[in-house]
Amino acid sequence: MTVPALLLRAGRLALTVGVAIVTTAAIAHAQLAPPPGPTAENIKKRGALACGVDTGVPGFAAQDNTGKWKGLDIDYCRAIAAAVLGDPDKVRYTPTTAAARFTVLQAGEIDVLIRDSTLTFTRSNQLGLDEVAVNFYAGQGFLVRKSIGVQKAAELQGATICMITGATLELNIADFARSTGAKIGSLLFEKPEEAIAAMEAGRCDGYSDDSGSLAGMRSTLKNPSEWIIMPELISKEPLGIHARSGDPRWQKILFWLDTALKTAEEFGITQANADELRKTSKNPFILRLLGAEGDTGKQLGLDSDWAFRAIKATGNYGEIYDRHFGPNALNLPRGLNNLYNNGGMHYTLPFR
């Protein structure tokens, strides 16, 4: 055997062994990642919250003309920073792509992921993540041309729907079509803009996506009044906050912060009246939430003003929703995102 051939063989062997070791190490590392130190302490030491957000999706996270981040998910990051650090601007935003978002969280590059990501069983059990709270109830819906005269998704028999590639959207439609016996054609595109352009050009009768994105897309149409968003949703997409498993104290902070924003809406506490209510209110729930009574902050490892500061920074949940999805913004009816006492899904645990 010649020397080069021998070397080649040895090289191949080394490569195989190397790949095997690295792969095993990666899998072991991903599964047995030791619990990270207390996240909240790290944030305080760093002086900034590392918040994983979307790279850009209307209503949830996008940069304005000056490059400032805006959106529902962004307001959540700001509220957390206000509660933990006392300043809503002390956030380091890490835009994450769909492919990288969970790895970035697992690897500890971000403290929390708030990126219009659906909370699912697989993510909970295979990825070493915990679903902390739902900040937006979405679902796959349809935006269709009014003139085809369809009122319900089940009547879409024979229609063609444009959508972006990504197995879930197609799969949901196929499941839905099978269960209702309708035949729905699909036309796939790489980017939402392409799908919308094809739809406006008449290549298909409608567009399908998560309800939050549908509202964003409708706002880009030439004649929005010629199109309707159908009320039905054919899938459940509870979007929310993901955190690494292994730091329950940090998760409690995130969970109760979400609860605080929704409770504030329930009790009518707004960005504008929080100061006054803290002094004048007689309601013990309000007083406890705003830190005038009790020790909710201390039990979470924060100071007593944590929720007060968050509400002052971003307003209550309803104010956040209206800022980005309300009539003056994307104009998406609140529907499931109402509080439970308004026919929605947001039912919060009581502060006592």
Partner: protein, 351 residues
Amino acid sequence: MRHPLVRALFGTKLNAAITLLMLAAFALVLPPLFRWAIGTAVWNAPNRAGCEAADTGACWAFIRARLALFFYGIYPVDQRWRVDAGLVVLVVIGTGALFARRHRGLWLLALAVLIPVIDGILLVGGIFGLELVPTGQWGGLMLNVVISFVALGGSIPLGIALAFGRRSKYPVIRYGSIAMIEFWRGVPLLAVLFMGLILLPLFLPNGVNIDNLVRALVVLTLFTSAYMAEIVRGGLQGVQSGQPEAALALGMHTAQVQLLVVLPQALRLSIPGFINIAVDLFKDTTLVSIVGLFDLMGVVNQSLKDTAWTGLAAEGYTFAALVFFFACLIISLGGSVLERHFAIAPGSTKH
């Protein structure tokens, strides 16, 4: 049939028919394009609704409103002069290296050494009283330029080393170089970018973070150096065998022969290939937007998601295409200047 142009366009029946057909196609396409891009375009509006209220043409107000974002990303506004200063340094030294009549070697040395140091200090900061700007805030066209420059600058020496390595008489070096070159040429850039972004964090201990930009830079440098190596190797093969033989006969060492006689001639032959790679690389930098870095393309994509401007994809992509076209044109023109300069007849005493 007098003017040569007339003869070229209408000389034969077939040519005349093709010319008329092309003119008809232009007449069909150009007026609507002109109407959209200029005739009914809107230059001033606070948001998309404002554009639509004014007219139905292109909404260039969108580009105007976000121009700074397209060029600087979210680099802090009061620190953007540093980016400008860095660009001035790059342009001055770059022009010097291209056009200087004397001391071109010094200019090239400045290009390779001074620019990384000066621009590195300017852009990153953290010393000399400059505020530290984390790379997470870099973005826009500036990021494309930085990535291209670093990857190109890093891949030239690496590529030369690999090219020599591939011709080495020592099997370890030779097969090592071949493996390196073939690996980086064989994998899609996108796949390695993703590997750098997604796999790397899994191998590193918790809490150890490598900057996203650094990951992209390393990947792009290695990727480009594989192509560089093959171009330099082509150049090395193009040097006539009489040259090293003559040098050896004059009593030079092997290293001297390679570095002083073969390499300079090989590099001269490689210039067109270098320029090709530079243009390619500059366009490839847009791929980093897929791993969460906001280069010009990333910022454009992102801007389409701002609720004030959603859906202005045509305007955004037209702008990005124009910027890239002109940037690549500059690289090409610079390349042809270099080519012309180094195309001195062999044996000439002119320096």
